[in-house]
Every structure is written in structure tokens, then in C-alpha cells.
């Protein structure tokens, strides 16, 4: 039946040879169903291009145009700047757009930052080592060298970089649909085989906002985002790791507090700015299971068989 449909479509569109067309015409005469299909397909021969070209759509937003141009310039600069200290050469070769945008965005990491702050990361993001050069020595103007000697795992470094770009506004994009959240948690437990608990941190003034499946080096990374009463969001990031348990320890990276621990083959990082929230204590409470868990009734078992 499918093959028949395709041949008939080709016939209607005049894509068959004369001989093939004659055969199809014979077939049509013999089959009422084929004749009906041909009638429908012929009726569908319309000027779609022109119709859609006439469609009134909102114009490309100026903000988007500027962002894409800035991204493109920054990317060109990155490519050209390997060994060259004059990014303006590459920049001017790509686009002569507005100077203020260029001055803000001419360094490589910032184009990514701009994208992030604008809510570009709504899911499906793949974190990679080095993706956040904001945190590499020398690329950020204030104190980023601390990261180099912090001894943090690369995935935590990436997660901190990610979190650093989060604002309260970013969460306006978050999906708070409980059914969707339950599905995501199920997927994490079933597909990522990650025995995830979503701690209820309301006793610490943190409201659960979202859980996201990310990936770091092709391994699942879960980001659970909470919103304090004020200030930027706080994230609990979880990744599978076969290393032995490790006690809660706290560090400061730039302006971000990072509390890490390992427990039951999972690595945790609690990341945020500590405006009114004691992340160190909170990390200990989570690791000691002193807090309840949310979405505990998701359909998959909490501890699925090991991969």
C-alpha cells in the first residue's frame, strides 16, 4: 500500500517515465481506491511556497539578530585567535555590526554566557570540559585562577560554570509541570540508572523548581534547581561515580559556594551563592538523609539494578 501511494504521488507529480505512467493509468482504471488517491494527491498540488511566503509572521527580533551576530563574531574570533592576539582582525572580517555589542562580546566565553543568561539552556544541553572557559585561569578578570587549584572534578567545574550563569530570570523558562517532572525523574532512574532522590529543601527556605537531564562527557548529569526566597538559584548536581564515599567538603569558586560529597556511588555538588543559605550545613543534611524527598512516588524503583 505504501509503495502504491509513493508511485501514485510520483505519477501525479509527473516524475514517472511514459511507460510507467501508462502502467499507473491502467492500475487507476482498475482500482477505485487508486483513483481516489490520485484525486486527493492531485488536489494537493498547490503553491505551498507562495502561500507560506505570504504568511504574516513576526519579524526576526532585533535582540536575536544581535545575539546571533555576536555569537558568530565571537566564534570567528575564537577560531582566528589561536596564536593571534588581535581578535579584531577576525571580528571585522565577519560582520561590521554595532560596536557596543562587539565590545561586550568579543571574548570567546561571553557569547556562551550571553546565550545562557538569555535562557538558552532549557534542557538537552551537553556540558563539556572546557565549555566554560569563564572558569579557566586568565579568561576571567577576577579570581578565576582559584579553580585551577581547587581540585574539583571536571564535571563539578562545568556544573559550577553552568550555575554561575543562572539567574532567577532563567527559571522563568523552567518547566514546573509536576507530570513532566515525574516523567523526567522516571527517565533518570530508568534510563540513566541513577538512583536519584529529589531532596525537599523547603525547611531551608528553598523551593524546588526543576530537574534536568544534562550530560557531561556522554554521561548523565542531573541538575536539580531550587529557588531561595531571594537571590540566584541553587543547584544540586548529581553524577554517577564509582569512587568511594567522600565526606562533605566546601569550597568557594569565584563567588560561588560549592559543597561536594560522594555517597553510594553518586557524586553530589551543591552549588550556589550563599545569600542566607548555609550550603555546607545543607549538604550535610542531604547526605545524612535528614531531609524528606519529593516525587518519591515516581513509578520506577528507587534503586534499579546496576547498569
Amino acid at each position: 500500500m505504501k509503495t502504491d501511494d509513493l508511485i501514485l504521488m510520483a505519477y501525479v507529480d509527473g516524475e514517472l517515465s511514459a511507460q510507467q505512467s501508462r502502467e499507473v493509468e491502467e492500475h487507476i482504471r482498475a482500482s477505485a481506491e487508486a483513483a481516489e488517491l490520485v484525486a486527493l494527491l492531485q488536489a494537493s498540488r498547490l503553491d505551498y511556497k507562495q502561500a507560506f511566503a505570504a504568511q504574516k509572521l513576526p519579524p526576526v527580533p532585533d535582540s536575536l539578530t544581535q545575539k546571533i551576530e555576536a555569537m558568530a563574531r565571537a566564534h570567528s574570533a575564537k577560531s582566528a585567535a589561536l596564536g593571534a592576539n588581535d581578535p579584531s582582525v577576525a571580528l571585522s572580517s565577519v560582520a561590521p555590526a554595532s560596536a557596543p555589542v562587539r565590545s561586550r562580546l568579543r571574548t570567546v566565553p561571553t557569547w556562551l554566557a550571553a546565550a545562557c543568561v538569555a535562557g538558552a539552556f532549557c534542557g538537552g544541553l551537553f556540558l563539556r570540559p572546557g565549555m566554560f572557559p569563564l572558569l579557566s585561569p586568565g579568561t576571567l578578570s577576577s579570581g578565576s585562577a582559584t579553580m585551577a587549584s581547587s581540585g574539583l572534578s571536571p564535571w563539578v567545574t562545568a556544573a559550577v560554570g553552568y550555575q554561575q550563569l543562572y539567574t532567577r530570570d532563567t527559571l522563568a523558562y523552567a518547566d514546573e509541570n509536576p507530570a513532566a517532572t515525574t516523567k523526567i525523574i522516571d527517565d533518570i532512574r530508568r534510563e540513566d540508572k541513577l538512583a536519584l532522590r529529589i531532596p525537599d529543601l523547603s525547611s531551608a527556605g528553598l523551593t524546588f523548581k526543576s530537574v534536568r537531564r544534562l550530560s557531561f562527557n556522554n554521561k548523565p548529569l542531573v541538575q536539580i534547581v531550587y529557588l531561595p526566597e531571594k537571590g540566584p538559584p541553587i543547584a544540586l548536581c548529581v553524577m554517577k561515580g564509582m569512587k568511594s564515599d567522600q565526606a562533605v567538603s566546601a569550597q568557594v569558586v569565584d563567588t560561588m559556594h560549592v559543597v561536594t560529597w560522594r555517597q553510594a556511588e553518586l557524586s553530589y555538588a551543591l552549588i550556589g551563592k550563599t545569600e542566607g543559605v548555609d550550603l555546607d550545613t545543607l549538604g550535610k543534611r542531604i547526605s545524612n538523609r535528614e531531609v524528606e524527598q519529593l516525587f518519591s512516588k515516581a513509578s520506577s524503583p528507587l534503586f534499579p539494578p546496576a547498569a
Binding site: 505504501k2 501511494d5 509513493l6 501514485l8 504521488m9 481506491e33 481516489e36 488517491l37 484525486a39 486527493l40 494527491l41 492531485q42 488536489a43 494537493s44 498547490l46 503553491d47 505551498y48 511556497k49 507562495q50 502561500a51 507560506f52 505570504a54 504568511q55 509572521l57 513576526p58 526576526v60 527580533p61 535582540s63 536575536l64 539578530t65 545575539k67 546571533i68 551576530e69 555569537m71 558568530a72 563574531r73 566564534h75 570567528s76 577560531s79 565577519v94 560582520a95 556562551l112 546565550a115 538569555a118 535562557g119 538558552a120 539552556f121 532549557c122 534542557g123 538537552g124 523558562y173 518547566d175 509541570n177 507530570a179 513532566a180 516523567k183 523526567i184 534536568r212 537531564r213
Partner: protein
């Protein structure tokens, strides 16, 4: 043409990426976000753009897969929310009277495509509207070319049933498989 040229080409492609994103997402905020994320992803993997691949098709592919990922993350099906759907039923109540008003016909064509199941609608957008070949559309959607042709055939049957003669419209009741994406 390769990935090194991509940054210079993105601004030029932007209007078509925007339109495509707007049409598949049906929401300007989603579309803006989608184009931005797709461009980020494309620039990150610009080196993967092969010289024999059309950069526009490649970008459509990234926009589409980004949107699918987003839908999966949201775990919701795309809702039909385009404005012109509102008047559609009245407009096509008597499709025989197409009249000379091309504008009306355009509206009906757009509405008919908008009403297709998602998988068929995207194929129509890529092939009939954007002018991609079957193979290019297959590459964009990461499906076999036969799937593209099959979806296109079903989509066209459905559109033909809506906009064709009363005769062909009546026959549409026989081919209800159109609703299968």
C-alpha cells in the same frame, strides 16, 4: 563550503531559521530560544559540517532536533496554536468556492498544513515550503527517505481532502490513516 564559513553564514540564514523555528514551535518566544540554542550548538560542532552538506539543511536539522529534545524535556505534544487556525473551519466549509482571492487560498493552504499531524507537517514544511529534496529532508529529520516520502504522501492526501473538490473531500473519509504520524 565548510564549518569555518558557518559563523559568517548564520546572520544571512537567520530569517529562514527564524521562520522555520516559528513554524515548528508555533510560539515566538520558543522560536527565539530555539534559534539561539541551535546556533550555539551549530557553532560548537561547526567542524562536523561536511562540504557536501547544505548548510541550511544542516541548520534546519539542528533546529529540528533541538526542538524535539525540548519537547521531550517538556513531555508535552506541540499544541496547535497558530492564530490562523481560529477562522479555518469557516473558511473551508465550502472549499469549492475558492474564488479569485489568492489570499484566502493561501490562508487555507497554510491552515491545512498546520492541521497535519506533527511528523507530516514538518515534512511538508521542509519539502513543499522550504524546497528541500526528499533526501535533504530525510537528513534533517534523521529518518529514511522512504519515511519522508510516505509522510509526504499522507500529508498531501489530507491536504487534498481538505482543499480539493467535494468529491475528493468525500473520499477523505476512506483514508483516515492520515491521522497516523
Amino acid at each position: 563550503m565548510n564549518g569555518a564559513d558557518l559563523p559568517g553564514m548564520l546572520p544571512e540564514m537567520l530569517p529562514r531559521l527564524w521562520t522555520f523555528a516559528l513554524r515548528i514551535s508555533g510560539d515566538r518566544h520558543d522560536a527565539e530560544d530555539l534559534v539561539q540554542r541551535a546556533c550555539v550548538r551549530a557553532l560548537e560542532r561547526a567542524h562536523q559540517l561536511q562540504p557536501d552538506t547544505s548548510p541550511l539543511s544542516w541548520m534546519f536539522s539542528i533546529v529540528h532536533s533541538t526542538w524535539i529534545n525540548e519537547l521531550r524535556a517538556r513531555s508535552v505534544r506541540k499544541r496547535s496554536s497558530m492564530d490562523w487556525d481560529d477562522d479555518f473551519l469557516e473558511n473551508v466549509a465550502d472549499p469549492v468556492d475558492k474564488g479569485p482571492e489568492a489570499q484566502l487560498m493561501h490562508g487555507q493552504i497554510i491552515s491545512a498544513v498546520e492541521r497535519l499531524p506533527e511528523a507530516q507537517r514538518v515534512v511538508m514544511l521542509l519539502v513543499a515550503v522550504e524546497g528541500l529534496s526528499y533526501q535533504e529532508a530525510a537528513d534533517v529529520l534523521e529518518v529514511p527517505i522512504g519515511t519522508v516520502m510516505s509522510r509526504l504522501s499522507r500529508a498531501r492526501q489530507a491536504v487534498g481532502a481538505l482543499l480539493g473538490t467535494p468529491d475528493s473531500k468525500a473520499k477523505a473519509s476512506v483514508t483516515r490513516k492520515d491521522s497516523i504520524a
